[in-house]
């Protein structure tokens, strides 16, 4: 009887595992089947076209790139610095940790609303605003992973630096950060992968666009995630195909990034 119960638990947990793995396998399979054959060179460089005339996602790729540059610049600098403060300086790190975790838990659509209220209302829909919204996703992830990585650095390293008379800030920048490099890199990759796939905070900030905007940060811009959202819901077969192709590209990029992040962790 007791053995039987154990057997039942074994089978039930096995079934649960199968049900957990099934979605990811079917998402990968379906996205490949629907998306792979649509990706071509014109697909990657053209602007969107009316239904039935091909068209591509070139401007969305450039838009994603511009926004990610802005997001990384802001997200990495503030994130890493805040991680340094929590790990190396603060006496009240748990308070900052709490606020960082709370920030990480704010729904991304809310980030879009806030950036709309404090930025878009003054400068308009723009790639810059989209990048700022995405940076708010990256900051808490980077801050916490930087903090964790710095805490892994043995205290002997800090003591040795102090014994050599190196000022604390030089030791932090040149020794501790160097030692924590792997962990910080993995946080950067994870946060970049998260931000790349997000569309919700871009709806009211970057807005989306049908054209190349010539790298102008103050113009509305499209992103690959926005393309998946708008084209996926369209009634035209070939537009939905564009959404599948873009979804496959996003899936591959984010999968590789998070796989690398896990390897370097």
């Amino acid at each position: 009887m007791r053995e039987l119960k154990d057997r039942i638990a074994a089978s039930a947990s096995f079934i649960a595992m199968i049900l957990a793995v099934l979605p990811i396998l079917s998402i990968i399979a379906v996205t490949f089947a629907e998306g792979a054959w649509r990706i071509s060179l014109p697909f990657l460089i053209n602007e969107p076209a009316p239904p039935g005339q091909g068209g591509g996602i070139g401007n969305a790729i450039i838009g994603t790139f511009m926004m990610m540059v802005v997001a990384s610049a802001l997200g990495i600098s503030i994130g890493v610095l805040s991680g340094i403060y929590m790990a190396e300086y603060s006496q009240k790190a748990h308070i900052f940790e709490l606020f960082t975790d709370v920030m990480a838990g704010v729904p991304t659509i809310i980030l879009g609303l806030v950036v709309y209220l404090i930025l878009v209302r003054f400068i308009g829909f723009s790639a810059l605003a989209g990048g700022v919204a995405l940076s708010l996703i990256m900051m808490p992830i980077i801050a916490r992973s930087t903090e964790e990585a710095l805490k892994e650095v043995p205290n002997e390293v800090r003591e040795a630096a102090a014994a050599l008379g190196i000022p604390k800030w030089k030791a932090v920048l040149h020794i501790n950060l160097r030692a924590a490099e792997e962990g910080i890199k993995s946080g950067l990759l994870l946060s970049t992968a998260r931000a790349l796939g997000e569309a919700a905070p871009l709806l009211f900030t970057a807005f989306g666009s049908q054209f190349y905007s010539g790298l102008n940060l103050l113009q509305p811009a499209s992103s690959m995630s926005l393309v998946v959202y708008t084209y996926g819901a369209s009634p035209w077969e070939d537009w939905r195909g564009i959404a599948w192709g873009t979804a496959l590209i996003l899936l591959l990029i984010t999968a590789f990034m998070s796989a690398f992040a896990r390897r370097s962790r």
């Binding site: 096995f14 990811i24 708010l136 808490p140 920048l173």
Partner: protein, 296 residues
């Protein structure tokens, strides 16, 4: 003065201020709606932008229903998976493959999952729903006309998205239970299941519950995937197989079309409600996890 300390302090203060800025800017922006509708905003089901009447009840109900169903499904599957991975039921090589695979589901962008749900899953599910509905029509939540784009599809999509959260956090919680306790139980003749039921799961429970709360917060705030498959209808939900809306889907699909200032303000108030609920859930989860660390 230490220059790095100074700039890094500013960065930390930025993060500290962020949450206050978010809260106060949303509060300010929803002022018009709050002063016009007051408390009735929360309990009115009348959403009529043309007439300037806004009631959040269908959206709040939709968020509550989709979150509840998805968390229920994901808890069963997620904890089951964690038991399989870390409870002594799986050979090592299987774990090496399964755990990263489930983690990678967490990395899939929500628009991709939404696209999968909209174009692949919902037509498939529509057949399943009509089958269920034709046999169980006497149960109210299953009756009525059936659509693939529906509250149930949104719930299923959400549960897919939060299973990795519960599975991977719960399985590391099970692994953190001191090995002497587990081996002690086994040495006394307990089976693997008895060890789990009497020793491991109770010990790890606060951590597992915090993973469920974390998943709940994710489900509450998830926007794109839900917006793509729920149909965004403001009718009060009568059946799980009909379109509905959630707080996030209303904001995402209507904000850019909102013309009057009262309309915008109502959407901001929806955002404020969502922020408060998800803050509450998140903070509870954080404190439960800290409690576990203090004990372990």
């Amino acid at each position: 003065m230490d220059p790095v300390k100074l700039i890094s302090l500013f960065s930390s203060i930025f993060i500290l201020l962020f949450i206050f800025t978010t809260f106060s800017s949303l509060l300010l922006a929803s002022n018009e709606s709050i002063s016009k509708f007051g408390f009735s905003f929360l309990i009115s089901a009348d959403w009529d932008p043309k007439e300037g009447r806004f009631g959040a009840l269908p959206a709040i109900a939709g968020t509550a229903i989709t979150t509840a169903i998805s968390v229920l499904i994901a808890s069963v599957i997620g904890i089951g998976t964690a038991v399989y991975i870390s409870g002594g039921y799986s050979p090592y090589w299987v774990r090496r493959i399964i755990a990263p695979l489930i983690d990678s589901l967490a990395a899939v962008p929500s628009v991709v999952i939404g696209l999968f749900g909209l174009l692949f899953l919902s037509p498939l599910l529509e057949n399943v729903y009509s089958l269920i509905s034709s046999h169980l029509y006497f149960i109210p939540v299953f009756g009525g006309p059936v659509r693939g784009i529906s509250i149930m599809t949104a719930s299923l999509i959400l549960s897919m998205m939060i299973i990795p959260t519960i599975a991977s956090i719960s399985s590391s919680a099970i692994e953190m239970v001191p090995v002497e306790l587990k081996e002690g139980a086994r040495a006394l003749g307990a089976t693997r299941w008895e060890t789990l039921r009497i020793i491991t799961l109770p010990y790890a429970s606060s951590y597992i519950i915090s993973s469920i709360l974390l998943a709940t917060a994710r489900a509450l705030g998830e926007t794109m995937a839900v917006t793509m498959v729920i149909g965004n209808s403001h009718d009060m939900p009568k059946s799980l197989f009909q379109p509905g809306c959630t707080i996030t889907s209303v904001i995402a699909s209507e904000f850019l079309e909102a013309t009057s200032s009262l309309y915008i303000s109502s959407l901001m108030e929806l955002g404020l409600i969502l922020l408060l609920i998800s803050l509450l859930v998140n903070i509870t989860a954080i404190f439960m996890r800290r409690g576990f660390y203090a004990r372990a």
